[in-house]
């Protein structure tokens, strides 16, 4: 098994280290061949199973992700950055060069793309685990599935359904909160609504989300077009369904 990091916060490789009760057992069944944050021993590929955290935001990222792809039998994108480009993909909507010039004493020293995108924009990917951060249980299930030679199960239901199953009081109905649970994929266990907060979509769109209907709901709850745009252009901003609906609300020039 290998774990590689690209443009990200390390919050999706941290869950491997947070498997405190399972990690030593796991290490009995899986050879950690390359995982820079956890080990100085870096063995060359090919790797049976590779997890990638982080988006692609510079030439060096592109070179590395191609190398990683070549060396990996199964390549899995973990978390918002690797799947969609992450929160820093908000810069895809801004003018990077202007920002650099206005700010850095020596802007020429900073080399990166104007965009940060998910790895599937650059290489074929075999599996996706959403979340900002990825869920520790999902990582474990994926590893165990590969060990057992069975297809990993990735749920496509919405947070909303999970929230109903937890018998939470609906924040939309009871409090008029524009909760994104209706259009967001499950995986978190409906965390935010369980803690009296509207879902902010950190697991990305559910399968076949009705964004148009969600936008209408937001309007009924009194959100302005600009607020709808910001809601859909937040932590997971570069997922196609969220991005396209966001663009329908405040038309703004989009780069890259």
């Amino acid at each position: 098994m290998a774990v590689f990091k690209f443009t990200s916060c390390s919050g999706c490789q941290t869950p491997f280290l947070n498997m405190e009760t399972e990690i030593l057992d796991l290490a009995d069944h899986v050879e950690v061949a390359c995982f820079a944050m956890a080990s100085s021993a870096t063995r060359p590929g090919p790797y049976d199973l590779t997890f990638v955290e982080g988006g692609i935001s510079c030439e060096e990222d592109v070179r590395r992700i191609n190398m990683v792809r070549q060396e990996s039998k199964i390549l899995v994108a973990i978390g918002n950055c690797a799947v969609y480009g992450g929160p820093q993909a908000l810069r895809n909507f801004l003018d990077l060069e202007d920002l650099k010039r206005a700010v850095y004493p020596q802007p020429d020293l900073v080399h990166c793309f104007p965009t940060c995108k998910g790895i599937a924009d650059y290489v074929p990917v075999d599996g996706f685990l959403n979340g900002c951060p990825v869920d520790q249980g999902h990582l474990q299930d994926y590893i165990v599935s590969v060990l057992l030679g069975k297809a990993p199960e990735v749920s496509t239901r919405s947070v909303c359904l999970e929230c109903k199953m937890k018998e939470n009081i609906c924040l939309i109905v009871a409090e008029g909160v524009a909760c994104m649970g209706v259009v967001t994929g499950t995986g978190c266990g409906a965390l935010c609504p369980s803690f009296d907060r509207g879902c902010y979509g950190c697991f990305g769109p559910s399968a076949d989300p009705n964004l148009n209907s969600f936008a209408n709901l937001c309007r009924e709850l009194g959100l302005t077009e600009e607020e709808i745009n910001r809601k859909l252009s937040y932590i997971v901003n570069n997922a196609k369904a969220f991005r396209e609906e966001a663009e329908r609300h405040v038309p703004q020039p989009v780069k890259g």
Binding site: A36, C112, P133
Partner: protein, 427 residues
């Protein structure tokens, strides 16, 4: 003369993408030492501009997957100051426990996963677990304790979701705080045993930097209140911080570097805090320090790992005290938006973390500035390498490289944090 270069291409057992470059001449004299940071920048200060002040704590948390709580709370502290929100004592205490839970989690990762393999001669914790299973299990239990508290208060370990302007979206029931106290007490022995073990490990005897900075407060071990003090006499409010600390750019790094405006490189983090705030450590931590003959000031960066364990002992005891003092009364969160600017300082696991925001009268962020601990430590890290390498220059290249990696790990650098930014709104 034809200088040679010795490189560590990709630092392992640190967070993020960085390396080391040493320039040596034919006589193996060190010409220069650099920590290269190639982790691409992520422009957080830029992307929060134009967002509502309520939205940004969860964006800024994503700067760091290892200590998101301190980014969230540092952001909220600054925003609350702008809005004139005064949080209740129970929220203050819960926040302190929240921060301390990150010390347990983050120091737990550093001590047991990242640093200890160096001292016991392994490449990673998995190999180390063979011969040192008990120690590793203690470490994993301590780390789990931290993560459990973080997720108990914040709903999950990484990028928790409950911290908002004024407090928490939902307050825990008192009975659950009692459960936490039981769990904390159950781990005190692990913390003491791990500290004892590590304090007795042979470490390089070495005198590094002599300037330290940390938040200090007469009544508590500096966390999220007080003034930023250095051992050479500075005592600054958050607002004054950038008047005395300057960031500068170097060609080999996507992270800015820091120094005091008098030119001094300085250290932030556990060793700095222990040195400056020793008197405010918990009684258990101070007793352990005297039993182990640990004294301050300690100028040896290789003792940072001991400082982390002292902070783990401290964090457990102080969290118990704070939790015991919370009654849990339901409260409502309300505030009005107003324009303004304010700065905050908070002690993240890796050291002082600075935030400053300016918002307009509709609550939109116009300007953001964030200075993470690793940015502040980078110059000091390079200085350590410059002082260390001449002493070991006769050794084979791989030994020098290894020693340099260990020296860098003393600071537990978080490179993603350090490359989060460009500074916006600067003239």
């Amino acid at each position: 003369m034809c200088p040679s270069q010795l490189k560590v291409d990709y630092l392992t057992r640190v967070e993020g993408g960085g390396g080391i470059e040493l320039d040596l001449d034919e006589q193996r004299q060190l010409l220069d030492a650099r920590v290269t940071i190639f982790e691409p920048p992520r422009f957080f200060e830029g992307i929060v501009r134009g967002r509502r002040c309520e939205e940004i704590a969860d964006i800024i948390a994503r700067i760091c997957g290892l200590c998101p709580v301190t980014y969230q709370l540092g952001t909220l502290l600054a925003i609350e100051q702008i809005l004139g929100v005064e949080v209740s004592r129970q929220v203050q205490l819960l926040r302190k426990v929240f921060i301390l839970s990150q010390y347990l989690g983050s120091h737990g990762i550093h001590v047991f996963f990242l640093a200890l393999p160096d001292y016991l001669g392994y490449d990673n914790i998995f190999e180390m677990a063979g011969e040192h299973r008990d120690l590793v299990n203690r470490g994993l239990r301590l780390k789990k304790l931290g993560n459990d508290i973080t997720s108990f208060l914040g709903a999950r370990e990484v990028h928790p979701v409950t911290a908002v302007i004024g407090g928490f979206t939902k307050l825990p029931p008192r009975s659950m705080l009692d459960d936490l106290i039981i769990q904390l007490k159950a781990r005190q022995e692990d913390a003491q045993a791990a500290l004892e073990f590590v304090a007795h490990l042979p470490r390089p005897a070495w005198v590094g930097g002599r300037v330290f900075g940390a938040l200090s407060h007469p009544a508590e071990y500096g966390l999220d209140e007080g003034r930023w003090c250095t051992n050479d006499g500075l005592s600054l409010s958050a607002e004054e911080f950038t008047g005395y600390v300057e960031e500068y750019q170097v060609p080999h790094s996507n992270s800015l570097h820091c120094r005091l405006k008098n030119g001094a490189y300085y250290m932030v983090g556990p060793l700095a805090r222990v040195n400056l705030n020793f008197e405010q450590l918990s009684a258990e931590a101070r007793r352990a320090a005297s039993r182990l003959n640990l004294s301050v000031p300690d100028y040896n960066p290789f003792n940072s790992i001991v400082a982390r364990l002292l902070e783990i002992v401290h964090a457990i005891e102080i969290s118990i005290n704070y939790l015991a003092a919370i009654e849990v009364r339901q409260e409502s969160l309300s505030y009005d938006i107003r324009a303004g600017a304010a700065a905050s300082l908070i002690e993240a696991p890796r050291g002082t973390l600075y935030h400053r925001f300016r918002i307009d009268d509709r609550g939109f962020v116009q300007e953001a500035r964030i200075i993470p601990p690793t940015t502040q430590n980078l110059s000091r890290i390079e200085q350590d390498l410059k002082e260390l390498v001449p002493q070991i220059a006769h050794e084979p290249d791989d030994q020098i490289a290894r020693a340099c990696e260990v020296a860098v790990r003393n600071y537990d650098p978080c490179i993603s944090c350090a490359t989060h930014c460009i500074i916006t709104g600067r003239s």
